[in-house]
């Protein structure tokens, strides 16, 4: 049987309708014979009812449009997982993308800001495309995968049917930049060069960074980080990154 002391922790869940039937009956039996407890429960119940009655008034004020905009902007700015992947889902790449695998360079992959890393890779992207007349060539996926394997000791699975997304795999050749730990894969999209860098044994938060007029989408998969760079609208870069992320094996 419930006394005043054992009733105490049951009052709030009783008022909130959170008790099971047996406990509820026990509480009500006690309330029926204990006026002080009855009064206490009535007081708590009445405040709860009062707040509920005024809920509309209590919740009538809200965030200002300015705050809403700030929050939306905060999410867009934040280096974050999946932000651009989220927007990249409906991928419909109409243009031909050519793929070239470039050469090798050593890259200090740790403790650099995303912006510094993106800037160096963008410089490499510009230099590599400027120096090599490679965009008219075409290699099979197997040849490129094999080349990456022998050059970098890395295994990568390129998309089986890239043409489904308007992709064309062109070829690979070494970049002049660096000494061997980062794979530089080159694409073409809408006539513009696109680079994909693969950095082994490093992970980074997802983000999209603007550097030197280019957009760089950064993401990690397993223990590898990928950076896709192009001088194209952010939306297009996000779409390409989303496709590549989904299609790489």
């Amino acid at each position: 049987m419930i006394d005043c002391q054992t009733l105490d922790p049951l009052v709030t869940p009783y008022v909130d309708g959170e008790l099971d039937a047996a406990s509820r009956d026990a509480v009500e039996a006690h309330l029926g014979r204990c006026a002080p407890c009855h009064s206490r429960v009535a007081a708590e119940q009445s405040v709860r009812d009062l707040i509920h009655a005024h809920q509309d008034a209590l919740t009538s004020s809200g965030a200002s449009p300015a705050l809403r905009a700030r929050c939306a902007a905060a999410m867009k700015r934040a280096p974050q997982a999946r932000s651009w992947r989220a927007r990249a889902t409906p991928f419909a790449l109409a243009a031909t993308i050519t793929l070239v695998v470039g050469g090798t360079f050593l890259y200090q992959v740790t403790d650099r800001s995303a912006r510094v890393m993106a800037a160096e890779l963008t410089a490499d992207h510009i230099k590599c495309f400027g120096m090599n007349r490679v965009l008219g060539t075409h290699d099979s996926a197997a040849a490129v995968e094999s080349s990456i394997g022998s050059t970098f000791g890395l295994r990568i699975g390129l998309p089986d049917q890239p043409q489904q997304a308007g992709l064309e795999l062109v070829g690979e050749r070494p970049c002049l930049y660096g000494e061997g730990r980062v794979a530089h894969i080159m694409y073409r999209h809408n006539g513009h060069p696109v680079s994909l860098f693969m950095l082994p044994k490093t992970t980074r938060p997802d983000s999209v960074v603007e550097v030197m007029g280019h957009e760089a989408a950064i993401w990690s998969s397993g223990d590898r980080t990928f950076v896709l760079i192009a001088r194209e609208p952010r939306r297009d870069v996000e779409q390409m990154a989303g496709f590549v992320h989904a299609a790489l094996r």
């Binding site: 922790p9 869940p13 909130d16 405040v47 809200g62 705050l67 700030r70 934040a78 932000s83 989220a86």
Partner: protein
């Protein structure tokens, strides 16, 4: 499956923004200052977005955001405490215990007691003022339960306190509101004046 995950993520930003009003209201109760409340809410979205991959699809996004809001507010309070401005919710709780919720005398007949009717006549601004005047620990618990309608378990996670403490804070907070809003009546009924 990856497609599903990405679709889930696609909605995250838009879904999260739906709750900006209730987050702001709650932040305002926590900070009592519009500018601080706005900063707190913006910080909450920033953190939520960075941690979006840790949000489990299918669980309550609103409760998750409220948990981040309260964690952020607690961290800020801790930072301020180093400057000596901490509001000690435990001390508030002990003070309330000493003040005591006086056991009121009986009004045995019926549920529609005069006191509950008196409380029901309270106007919204008076209620708002009384809620705002509650010590932090009780205001948070009552607000999250009665206004934002979270479960005890959700509030327990948000405030980082056991469920039993959640319930006792709600209980005491409601009784303090009652005493605040119906002072004459309760004093007369308590027979302890």
């Amino acid at each position: 499956m990856r497609q599903g995950l990405r679709q889930q993520a696609a909605g995250f930003e838009a879904e999260a923004l739906v709750f900006v009003d209730s987050l702001y209201r709650t932040a305002l109760r926590l900070t009592r200052n519009p500018a601080d409340a706005e900063d707190l809410v913006q910080d909450t979205y920033l953190k939520a977005f960075r941690a979006a991959d840790r949000f489990e699809p299918g669980t309550n996004l609103r409760a998750w955001l409220f948990t981040i809001l309260h964690n952020t507010a607690r961290n800020r309070a801790r930072d301020r405490a180093r400057d000596g401005v901490l509001v000690d919710s435990e001390a508030a709780e002990r003070a309330a215990e000493l003040a005591g919720g006086p056991a009121r005398d009986a009004s045995p007949e019926g549920r529609e007691t005069p006191e509950s009717r008196l409380v029901r006549d309270t106007m919204a601004p008076d209620l708002q003022a009384a809620v705002d005047a509650l010590p932090d620990a009780f205001r948070q618990a009552v607000w999250l339960r009665d206004v934002e309608e979270f479960s005890y378990a959700e509030i327990s996670a948000m405030l980082s306190i056991p469920i039993g403490t959640v319930m006792s804070r709600i209980s005491r907070g409601r009784r303090m509101l009652y005493d605040q809003l119906a002072p004459t009546r309760s004093a007369a009924l308590s027979g302890k004046t």
